[in-house]
């Protein structure tokens, strides 16, 4: 039987506000445990939440970025459950009236095809703290669990998709598109390693052609693009095997274990929580007027999709190059800066995606941390474009720029110091050609005797010798041209 995979994603995006969603405590990552939790975050008796307006503005910006309806009135609800890292015994979230209504996101797949994924809604909520399961022991040696509430109250935007994805690739493409849009908007740092974006994946399978959905499993906290792909792959296999063996899929919450590359059941339905949602009486509804929404709309930056289209049509990049570069605002900004210096978008794209990305990946650096600035790279490309250096020499110069060499770390100084300037003086090249021909009588004879259509290949030997003699500085096209003239004259 042919099976179809159905995937829906719930993406929790940590909003880049300075303070928490309902308190003034800092949201900075990595501080000592419980040093960034104030009385409100600790759920101390008598404390009350006060909504951070920055979180509201960020949620609205996201909604506008995915063409969603923005709710004029949205309401916070309490999601009640007990857990040690949930200080108040409830999470303040938006169950019934979320701030962002239905929207759409167009994603580009690896093969360049486009797919539209519908967004069901997005809502604001507070994060919980963290349980630290490292070994803590009390005075009697009793093992204990530590609680770090620094993260408690960090604002999250939970973005819930429709079950519109049909493969792991589509799911990761969607997640990348969400990542791109939130980083473009500057509403999240998108740092998945630090938990700024976390993903719950709902997966089900059904016979191809069947209209009803199969029973889904929810895979919790899948925290990298690769893990989403792996978790979906594992889950699809598990579910199809289960059904083909005559079993049925149970609706349950599962956990993806990256070490063992598998998903495992977390809790069964018997233990399912009744969260007893009800409107939070400590917070007023969020009421937004059209002027506020319009003002945020006017301030939106160019978003990934628009940027990708412009790169393709106005700058002439391929669909693939345009979508890869536009996927990251930082890369797109860098690319545009390079292009502004050199004026050759194709070259700029090749360098950014080639040498630069390769070097960044090797050293695990973010493009913002690149030791080679966009201006430096643009000037380097200019030296290739004006034939000062060859493409090959340019790679040498790039490495030297990366390593911080040269006076003022400039491309020109490095070219000068390393003697990489191309020889374009035809007199000097002719002299080198004459030397090579004089030293290679055997090869010259072979060239003359060869069938005319074989000579094109044989000239490569002479080009190599001349380039070697020039220590790579001779312009290869020029060498090729002059050699051909010289040898053909001897026929």
């Amino acid at each position: 039987m042919q099976w179809e995979t159905v995937i829906g994603l719930e993406v929790h995006v940590q909003l880049a506000t300075r303070s928490k969603i309902f308190s003034g405590a800092s949201t900075a990552f990595g501080a000592d445990a419980n040093t960034q939790a104030c009385a409100v975050d600790l759920g101390m008796p008598g404390t009350l939440p006060v909504l951070n307006e920055q979180a509201v503005s960020m949620a609205v910006q996201f909604g506008l970025g995915v063409d969603a309806e923005i709710a004029k009135v949205s309401v916070f609800d309490r999601k009640n459950y007990f857990y040690a890292d949930l200080p108040k015994g409830y999470q303040t979230s938006q169950m019934y009236h979320p701030i962002v209504g239905p929207g759409v996101l167009d994603v580009t797949l690896d093969d360049g095809a486009a797919k539209r994924i519908r967004i069901h809604h997005a809502h604001l909520e507070e994060d919980a703290g963290k349980s630290l399961h490292e070994s803590f022991t009390d005075d009697t040696g009793q093992e204990m669990t530590g609680i770090d509430l620094n993260r408690a109250g960090t604002p999250l935007l939970e973005i819930v998709s429709e079950p519109d994805m049909r493969s792991a690739k589509e799911a990761t493409a969607y997640l990348r598109a969400i990542h791109a849009i939130v980083t473009y908007l500057g509403i999240s740092d998108g740092n998945m390693a630090e938990g700024s974006m976390r993903c719950d994946v709902n997966v089900s399978v059904r016979p191809k052609g069947q209209a009803e959905f199969g029973t889904r499993a929810e895979i919790k906290n899948v925290n990298s693009f690769r893990f989403v792909e792996r978790a979906v792959a594992f889950e699809v296999e598990r579910q199809t095997e289960l059904i083909e063996d005559g079993g049925t899929v149970v609706q349950e919450t599962r956990l993806y274990d990256p070490d063992r590359d598998e998903t495992r059941s977390m809790r069964t339905k018997e233990e399912a929580n009744d969260y007893r949602y009800f409107p939070c009486p400590d917070l007023l509804p969020i009421v937004l007027d059209q002027a506020y929404i319009d003002q945020l709309r006017a301030g939106l930056p160019e978003l990934p999709d628009a940027k990708r289209a412009r790169f393709e049509t106005a700058l002439g990049l391929s669909a693939y190059d345009a979508s890869v570069i536009a996927a990251s605002r930082d890369m797109a900004d860098y690319f545009e800066d390079v292009n502004n210096v050199c004026g050759d978008a194709k070259q700029a794209a090749n360098w950014v995606q080639g040498e630069l990305s390769g070097a960044l990946n090797r050293e695990h650096l973010d493009i913002r941390q690149s030791p080679v600035s966009a201006r430096q790279l643009g000037e380097l490309i200019n030296r290739v474009l004006d034939d000062t250096i060859s493409g090959k020499a340019a790679k040498q110069v790039f490495q030297a720029l990366w390593d911080g060499e040269g006076e003022n770390n400039s491309a020109d100084a490095i070219i000068e110091a390393k003697g990489l300037k191309q020889v374009t003086d035809s007199g000097a090249i002719k002299a080198m050609i004459d030397d090579v021909i004089a030293q290679s009588p055997k090869q010259v004879t072979q060239y003359i005797d060869a069938e005319p259509d074989k000579r094109g290949k044989m000239i490569g030997y002479f080009v190599g010798q001349v380039m070697k003699a020039s220590r790579g500085t001779a312009n290869p096209q020029q060498v090729n041209q002059l050699l051909k003239e010289k040898l053909d004259a001897q026929l």
């Binding site: 101390m44 409830y90 949602y277």
Partner: protein, 486 residues
């Protein structure tokens, strides 16, 4: 001392007839003598009070004194007070020392008043008799076999016994007004949002409101001016200017339109209470007011709606008492579930558990719409009843409670206890202000007249109550117990 009002003490301090230290010491002595009998305080903060009194006296000599500077007060033990035990009358918080002060406590500190201590109360403000406190029942100074009302029974009893000239209470379904009525004092529940809730340990967030409890409406007015106002830390507090409540006390009442809700004079009302209230209304007529009957047709649903909404909010509000970060923690828990179950089973009393169970049930899947959603609809109808009534009359009057104070241990059935609040509960659901003023004595126990006003009409209520107190002397009656403390 038992005859002093806050207003008279403020005048004595201003005129130099007394120092705050003298007053504070006197009250501390009275508390020491009365407390073994009355049990109206959970914590008496004598040391801090005397230090505060000295600071107030110093401020006065330096010309930095305000109206309340040096005036001793008592606070219900659900107001967080930095560095002082704040228990909410519960074993759960028996060891809880708040690391911050409630906004109203900060405001009183800034105004220079002196806190004598924290008053006893029904556990987590859930109750109408002050019998559910972990620290034991409170006695009514008018009759030691009677309850003082609840949940602010400690504040009411302390003021009635002259252990403090005034106190703060909180009112979620009548918890200021009913004990004020039972103890023969004046108590104002302000409009929801008029006084900040920040730092007040929540019972039912959409209903809770703090307010003054004192001898007279005039005293309440001075306290209101000090504690009311918008607070950026409480999103539900109103952004609205605070009037000088004392400035409007003397406005004449000629032409005042009084409405008597027929539903407040029906079955279940003790005829002697009804008589006292009708007598009080006659006094108003002599002051130039006109009286007419009005109807609040949804009144009979108020108690039911309240006992859905308040426990629902409470069940959620009290989830934070889990033994993890503060409050009672059971010994040697086996695991997290055991920690929760035993800490809460040991820390909460029966009435608190009952309301947590009710609230948890009504919010549950499958019951939510039938209970909570419907109760909120009822709440809107009740509010509309009041809005309609205030289109026709200026204030509403009726009994605060269907009976005078009942005997300790008399209400054994929770339902009959809940019905004690039938005249006060709708006021919280509607969010309007209400005041209870002494209007009679029946068998040695006080009777309260409840006066209700439109949203933010506190100044008018205080004015209407003050004029009554100029014409009558019910508020000047003192229990024998108060006179006997020397």
């Amino acid at each position: 001392m038992s005859d002093h009002t806050l207003t008279s003490l403020a005048a004595a301090l201003k005129n130099g007839d007394a120092s705050s230290r003298e007053l504070t010491s006197d009250y501390l002595q009275r508390i020491e003598r009365a407390e073994p009998t009355l049990n109206s305080f959970i914590s008496v903060t004598a040391e801090q009070a005397l230090a505060g009194a000295d600071a107030a006296d110093k401020a006065r000599t330096e010309g930095r004194a305000g109206y309340l500077t040096g005036v001793p007060l008592a606070l219900k033990d659900n107001f967080c007070t930095q560095g002082v035990k704040t228990t909410c009358g519960s074993k759960m918080l028996d060891t809880f020392v708040a690391p911050y002060s409630a906004t109203v406590v900060e405001k009183l500190d800034a105004a220079g008043s002196v806190s004598l201590g924290k008053t006893n109360m029904d556990e987590f403000a859930m109750g109408s008799s002050s019998e559910s406190s972990f620290y034991g029942a409170i006695k009514n100074p008018w009759d030691l076999s009677a309850v003082p009302g609840g949940s602010s029974g400690g504040s009411a009893a302390a003021v009635a016994a002259g252990l403090a000239p005034a106190a703060l209470g909180t009112d979620t379904g009548g918890s200021i007004r009913q004990p004020a009525a039972f103890c023969g004092i004046t108590g104002l529940k302000p409009t929801y949002g008029r006084v900040s809730r920040y730092g007040i340990i929540a019972y039912a967030s959409s209903l809770d409101q703090a307010g003054p409890m004192a001898r007279t409406a005039e005293d309440c007015a001075h306290l209101m001016t000090a504690i009311a106002g918008h607070d950026a830390r409480d999103s539900t507090s109103a952004e609205r200017a605070v009037p000088d409540y004392a400035a409007q006390l003397d406005a004449p009442l000629a032409g005042l339109k009084i409405g008597l809700p027929t539903e407040y004079f029906g079955d279940g009302l003790d005829p002697v209470v009804a008589g006292a209230v009708r007598d009080a209304v006659k006094v108003y007529e002599t002051l130039g007011a006109t009286v007419r009957d009005v109807s609040l047709p949804h009144t009979r649903y108020a108690t039911s709606a309240y006992y859905v909404i308040a426990p629902a909010e409470a069940s959620s509000n009290l989830s934070r008492f889990d033994g993890v970060r503060f409050g009672h923690r059971c010994d040697n828990p086996d695991d997290l579930l055991d920690l929760y179950q035993r800490s809460r089973a040991e820390g909460f009393g029966d009435e608190v558990k009952r309301r947590i169970l009710i609230g948890t049930h009504t919010l549950s899947e499958g019951f939510f719409d039938a209970y909570y959603t419907k109760a909120q609809r009822v709440r809107r109808l009740i509010r509309q009843d009041f809005l309609d009534a205030f289109n026709e009359v200026d204030v509403l009057m009726g009994p605060t409670s269907p009976t005078p104070a009942f005997d300790l241990g008399a209400q054994k059935d929770p339902l009959s206890m809940y019905l004690q609040d039938i005249y006060t509960i709708a006021v919280n659901l509607a969010g309007i202000p209400g005041i209870s003023v002494p209007a009679g004595l029946v068998g040695g126990r006080p009777v309260g007249l409840q006066i209700l006003g439109a949203h933010f009409a506190e100044a008018q209520l205080l004015n209407v109550a003050h004029q009554f107190q100029r014409a009558t002397d019910w508020h000047q009656q003192r229990p024998a117990f108060a006179k006997e403390i020397v």
